[in-house]
């Protein structure tokens, strides 16, 4: 759907600057910001931030992205209370991440897949000095 809107000149300049920074068109930037604004209104504790890995849905007052909380939820086999205890967060923040991930599974699964693809080999390509370390296990008695 095409929706036209009137913007103050200064807002349009800022929008264009933001679009240029991300390599988007001003129209793309506008659509994204509207979508993010709607999601912020509809979902509790959700914020959007630019990260070196792209713009991501994050949890407010935290450096964690929603996908990172979901990685923990998977590690704890879906136990949201255990994740809340792990992070020393109120349960409601973990639930907020869960609900966001349920509403946008493709977005979260894609970021998780990107994360898993960045294995030791890919890491060494980026950061050649990376050294693998696997500590010795204690001797069995």
């Amino acid at each position: 759907m095409v929706v036209s809107m009137r913007l103050p000149t200064e807002s349009a300049k800022r929008l264009r600057r933001m679009a240029n920074r991300h390599g988007w068109t001003p129209s793309d930037a506008c659509a994204r910001l509207v979508e993010e604004g709607l999601r912020r209104t509809e979902f509790a504790f959700i914020d959007f931030r630019d990260t070196p890995a792209g713009r991501q849905a994050c949890i407010q007052a935290s450096s964690l992205a929603v996908w990172e909380v979901m990685q923990l939820v998977r590690a704890y086999k879906g136990d949201a209370a255990a994740v809340a205890k792990h992070l020393a967060w109120p349960l409601v923040k973990v639930q907020a991440a869960l609900h966001y991930a349920e509403a946008f599974p493709k977005e979260i699964n894609e970021v998780l897949a990107d994360h898993h693809a960045l294995d030791l080999v890919a890491l060494k390509h980026m950061l050649p000095q990376t050294v693998e370390f696997a500590p010795k296990r204690p001797e069995r008695r």
């Binding site: 407010q60 590690a75 255990a82 992070l87 960045l118 950061l127 000095q129 500590p135 069995r140």
Partner: protein
């Protein structure tokens, strides 16, 4: 000596476990470090401050931190070292396993210079975890006991 700053995604219980296990080791969970002022700040800001305090960052987040490190490396900016934990062999839910792995890392290469060092920490998958083998031995020992003292099994 290795001094650690744990990313927000790592349980503060890991910091407590490491302090118990490695006496004298300085470990900070992000939530408690500098009064929690760095929680929610960009990774580059935390990394920069960690470098000032000669702290090595421990994180599971390769996606966001590795591009920052690459850029810094190319620009000649130093950092206090980063330990990327492999979630495939050390689950974030297994805090005890992470404590053991980090304690092993702190102990073995005692003379490592941590400035600009990047480690990929993983657990050895070739052998069973010691606690599992202990439990298996315990299970195996029950029939042995019954064989030895048949009356006790009833």
């Amino acid at each position: 000596m290795l001094r650690l700053l744990l990313d927000e995604g790592i349980s503060p219980a890991v910091a407590m476990g490491l302090r118990r296990r490695c006496h004298g080791m300085e470990v900070f969970a992000m939530a408690e470090w500098e009064g929690g002022n760095f929680v929610g700040l960009p990774d580059s800001v935390c990394l920069r401050e960690a470098a000032v305090h000669e702290l090595t960052l421990v994180t599971y987040d390769r996606g966001a931190i590795s591009p920052v490190l690459k850029e810094w490396m190319e620009e000649g900016i130093t950092h206090g070292g980063v330990i990327f934990v492999d979630e495939k062999t050390i689950s974030p839910a297994e805090t005890g396993q992470l404590v053991s792995a980090l304690a092993g890392l702190a102990k073995e290469p005692g003379d490592w210079e941590w400035t600009n060092r990047i480690s990929f920490l993983r657990d050895r998958c070739d052998t069973a975890f010691p606690i599992t083998s202990k439990l298996q031995n315990r299970k195996r020992s029950l029939p042995d006991l019954r064989r030895r003292w048949p009356d006790n099994s009833r």
